[in-house]
Symmetry: C2
Subunit: 246 residues, 2 copies
Amino acid sequence: MGTTDPASPMGRGHTDLDVVLDEVLAARRAERTVMSTSADRAARVVREQVVEGHLRSGTRLPEERLAAALGVSRNTLREALSQLVAERILVREPHRGVVVATPEVADVEDVYRVRRLVEPAALAHGTGHTPARVAAVAAAVTEGREAGARGDWDAVASANQHFHRAVVALAGSPRLDAQMHLLLAEMRLFFHQMGEPRRFHQPYLEENATIADLLGAGDRQGAADRLDTYLTAAQTQLVAAFRDRA
Amino acid sequence: MGTTDPASPMGRGHTDLDVVLDEVLAARRAERTVMSTSADRAARVVREQVVEGHLRSGTRLPEERLAAALGVSRNTLREALSQLVAERILVREPHRGVVVATPEVADVEDVYRVRRLVEPAALAHGTGHTPARVAAVAAAVTEGREAGARGDWDAVASANQHFHRAVVALAGSPRLDAQMHLLLAEMRLFFHQMGEPRRFHQPYLEENATIADLLGAGDRQGAADRLDTYLTAAQTQLVAAFRDRA
DNA sequence: CCCTAAGGATTGTTCAACAATTCTTCAATA
DNA sequence: TATTGAAGAATTGTTGAACAATCCTTAGGG
């Protein structure tokens, strides 16, 4: 995208410049948003530690020590914690502090209730089925297969998430994407609390492939139906495992 | 629900007590959550002012003055603002402060994208269709009709929101309910920015009634289809009005 | 008319403190 | 022994003041 545009008409001679400047300003603003504030960085670190399973469900997060560990003040930390509470990753118990959320069976069921409503609908009726997004679904499938072939189960789990995010992305909605991001973070909490078996995700690789194929062939409703039954099965399996282990 | 249970077996004699005590503790905790902290109260006040249209899109919220007005410290206020930013009601521009979100056409379209995916699905495939919830949908219809009969257009708008919340509630998902709550708050921002005509919602009263009837008759798919076309129409009307006025 | 620099205003962040509440300990008591 | 109660410690909720960093405004200088 030509950032320089010297061949502008000299008559009024400022419209193009303004356009370029606005572009530059927007870019800088976006950049800055990435670096963002200390509070955001702190939130990202804590979020990551929880999602990666290094902070397990139920652990309390004392403000003073945590702030010291993160190198921020207690006030700044509290801003970060507010964010994570809003994301359902942490829970605030008034006057008792924040703890890593400990999901119950009802939470597992509710997350799947949402997923079963949203994901098949995105496949069947999504208004954002661009070739690129359809390709992204297929890409997640091959990513998963390759990971499975080399026995990298963490990568398989990752690819599985990518698959479901790609499915939701077919709706073409930033808001749904954000919501799905939160749901998948919660899912990782489930897995950690129930002691996820290493190969938990493997059986679903082929299901993902089937769905991607149906989607590629233009059979949206078929893909949606398949995903619905698949999600139902996954839910019952997950709830059963959850009841045993947690 | 018998809160006292003196006829418990004396043999081990503590299980029931524990149950009751847990119940009491949970109740107290819920109570406390309602009173909640200063930050939450501040957030609620600002949220209300925005949703009610007293703080219009684009207005900046200087921390010092706002904190003074709310009677809280600047740090506490910042916690509250973090919440509202997470809810998309406010937008934070780094080093420039928070402003009331100014939705664009893309936002209107995206909100409707989500609604058209979720609401019909809740009608057609929702797993929470209890008689009480179905009745709530019908109740929202009569609420709207009565409000319309006496020309109270604010109440009509309110009833319309209740209708759509009741529809989503048919999914039986707390998470979807919360999400819908946010979306409807955003919708009110749209209306305020485009200068909502007083009688905007009236035409949809009869559509709501039709959908409630279909639902009551057990024709879920019919109700869902009807709602889908209705939402599409509402979207185009809204986008057109939005383009003109905003 | 455009550019630049100084000055003012606002945000991002820290620190130190204090009241309110919860948790802990530990002795006294039935 | 198990329960109660109260003093004391620890943590949260909240405040106020401060300071650097950044943004905005405005007044000159080219």
